[in-house]
């Protein structure tokens, strides 16, 4: 009898603990998502009104004359492309080295340095590129901006690439080696394709991260009021444009800052979807 009651009490306690924990985690999840929805909703609410074709295609104009962020959209795309072209191969190569060939002290050092770099505030990267590139060139440039963004990307991509490659089972590598494949062909032909979607996700996260960066661009790409495609000239970007509009005292520009934010978020979402589309598992 007594043992029966004990079993019942234990079962009850278990049920209560379980439901309390479920409620707790569900509430936290709900709040996290709510905040995200609120941010997106509020930006859409404030920004949507100012968006029209002229806003998306025109260059900035003085207060009261309208104008747009066409050059900033183009500038951001160029900066992202430039930083990806530099940062992706570099970061992925570092990740491959760390995962496939990196044993011993040298690799440990590189791993430590990449981890530290991930934590370096991005404005420091901006100042660094200003010192080594903008000062000698005596001019702000798209190139300097792209390099600054690439420097932010590289450590992130390197570490995610390493993690993803490590997830590829040893049995796959051994299978390829047992067929007479040299090490480098195992890496390029079997390991990398198996890790591709994970690496792409990491790369995408890095691109999304830098597309929201303002600080590294302030002293490098600087900003521009004109359409520019030359890499040795200052170039506009959405984030710097948002910053400039947002700190201005004009209501019209504040509205434009909201609208530009909405555009930036849409751009990041579009990159996300595109990358997912192209790296979806084909096999």
């Amino acid at each position: 009898m007594t043992s029966d009651t004990q079993t019942k009490t234990a079962a009850n306690r278990r049920r209560i603990t379980s439901s309390v924990m479920t409620t707790l985690t569900a509430t936290c999840a709900f709040f996290a998502v709510t905040v995200l929805v609120l941010i997106i909703g509020y930006i859409a609410l404030r920004g949507l009104g100012a968006i029209n074709l002229q806003f998306l295609t025109d260059t900035p104009k003085p207060v009261g004359e309208g104008g747009g962020i066409g050059n900033a959209i183009l500038g951001s795309l160029i900066l992202l492309l430039l930083s990806s072209v530099i940062g992706l191969p570099f970061g992925i190569a570092v990740g491959i080295y760390l995962a496939e060939f990196g044993a011993g002290r040298f690799a440990g050092l590189i791993r430590f340095v990449t981890d530290t770099l991930t934590g370096v505030p991005s404005i420091v990267v901006g100042v660094f590129v200003y010192t080594i590139l903008v000062l000698p060139m005596r001019q702000f440039s798209a190139l300097a901006g792209g390099i600054a963004l690439a420097l932010v990307m590289i450590p992130i991509i390197a570490r995610t690439t390493e993690e993803m490659i490590r997830l590829v089972p040893t049995s796959l590598r051994e299978g390829a080696l047992a067929l007479g494949a040299p090490q480098w062909r195992v890496t390029t032909g079997v390991v990398l394709p198996a890790a591709a979607s994970g690496i792409a996700t990491g790369a995408m996260l890095a691109v999304a991260r830098v597309s929201g960066e303002t600080a590294p661009l302030l002293f490098t790409a600087f900003g521009s009021r004109f359409f520019n495609v030359y890499l040795d000239q200052p170039i506009a970007s959405l984030t710097v444009q948002i910053y400039n509009y947002a700190i201005s005292p004009y209501d019209e520009w504040h509205a434009m800052a909201w609208a530009a934010t909405l555009v930036l978020m849409t751009l990041i979402l579009a990159i996300n979807i595109l990358v997912r589309f192209f790296t979806r598992k084909k096999i």
Binding site: E174, G175, L177, G180, A181, P193
Partner: protein, 284 residues
């Protein structure tokens, strides 16, 4: 339990018996080469721990030899020394000699990549690449540049899949992912992949341990079929399997080779007490 000295002595006598037997076998069929794989005094170390002690063993051409023994007795480790797969594990060391067709594969200057093409391997867990069925089988052919035209490539792929008894099941979906196959099919695909490069020796590390009885039966029939062309060495935990598929059996215990014998002899009247105890399930 046998003392170490008597075990070593009996290992020697077992090896001698086996060599005699092999010689008798050769006289029957002149086409056979003396020994395809010949191992002498092989020691193997993981760091400081010695995993194999003075293994000497001959595997004849076009036979199936089974390795049996309790877990951790070194049979897989030994199998992996035959295509230098252990090279990939840091801190391992080999002493002694392994000859394949009379050539020492641990001699300096050995082309390990070429060795692994000649000595294929099938693993315990099927490990198809995340590629299409066709590309899996074609992988070894492509990296070793063994074919000169697209038709030749697809012919060789078909041949390998046919030999692995998988062709009828996959011929209409060669472009499908290898991962869409069932476990048994995946393992036969891995066998096909190994066969495609036409190795001389095939090493199988418990190839059927993760499969159901029907898939296991298919693999076993395949092994018996394959020995017409290949020399096969198979590690197995399943004694019935060893009895069904192999011509010769080697019994490993604590990193030592206790006995090598014809499978029939091994399972009916083994030379060693230890072998008998293991086979009859008295320990292990």
């Amino acid at each position: 339990m046998a003392t170490p000295t008597s075990t070593t002595a009996s290992v020697k006598s077992a090896t001698e018996t086996m060599q005699e037997r092999t010689r008798a076998f050769e006289n029957d069929r002149e086409s056979r080469v003396a020994a395809k794989v010949s191992v002498r005094e092989l020691d193997f170390f993981y760091g400081r721990a010695q995993a194999l002690h003075k293994i000497s063993l001959d595997v004849g051409s076009q036979i199936v030899m089974a390795f049996i023994g309790p877990s951790g007795c070194g049979k897989s480790t030994f199998l992996r020394t035959l295509n230098r797969m252990n090279d990939t594990i840091p801190g391992t060391r080999v002493e002694g000699s392994v000859q394949i067709d009379g050539q020492d594969i641990y001699a300096p200057g050995t082309d390990v990549v070429e060795l692994r093409r000649r000595v294929g391997m099938v693993f315990q867990k099927s490990n198809p690449f995340p590629k299409s069925i066709f590309d899996n089988v074609a992988y070894g052919l492509r990296i070793n540049k063994l074919t000169s035209s697209k038709t030749e490539l697809s012919d060789r792929v078909e041949e390998a899949l046919t030999n692995a008894a998988l062709w009828p099941e996959v011929k209409d979906r060669l472009k499908a992912s290898a991962l869409s196959l069932s476990g048994g099919q995946q393992q036969r695909l891995c066998i096909a992949r190994a066969l495609a490069v036409r190795p001389e020796v095939i090493l199988m590390d418990e190839p059927a341990s993760a499969l159901d009885p029907i898939a296991t039966q298919k693999i076993e029939e395949l092994i018996v079929e394959l020995k017409r062309q290949y020399t096969i060495v198979i590690v197995t935990h399943n004694m019935q399997q060893a009895a069904r598929v192999s011509d010769e059996t080697a019994f490993f215990w604590l990193g030592k080779l206790v006995e090598v014998n014809s499978t029939e002899q091994m399972f009916t009247n083994p030379n060693e007490k230890l072998t008998e105890d293991y086979i009859t399930g008295r320990f292990g």
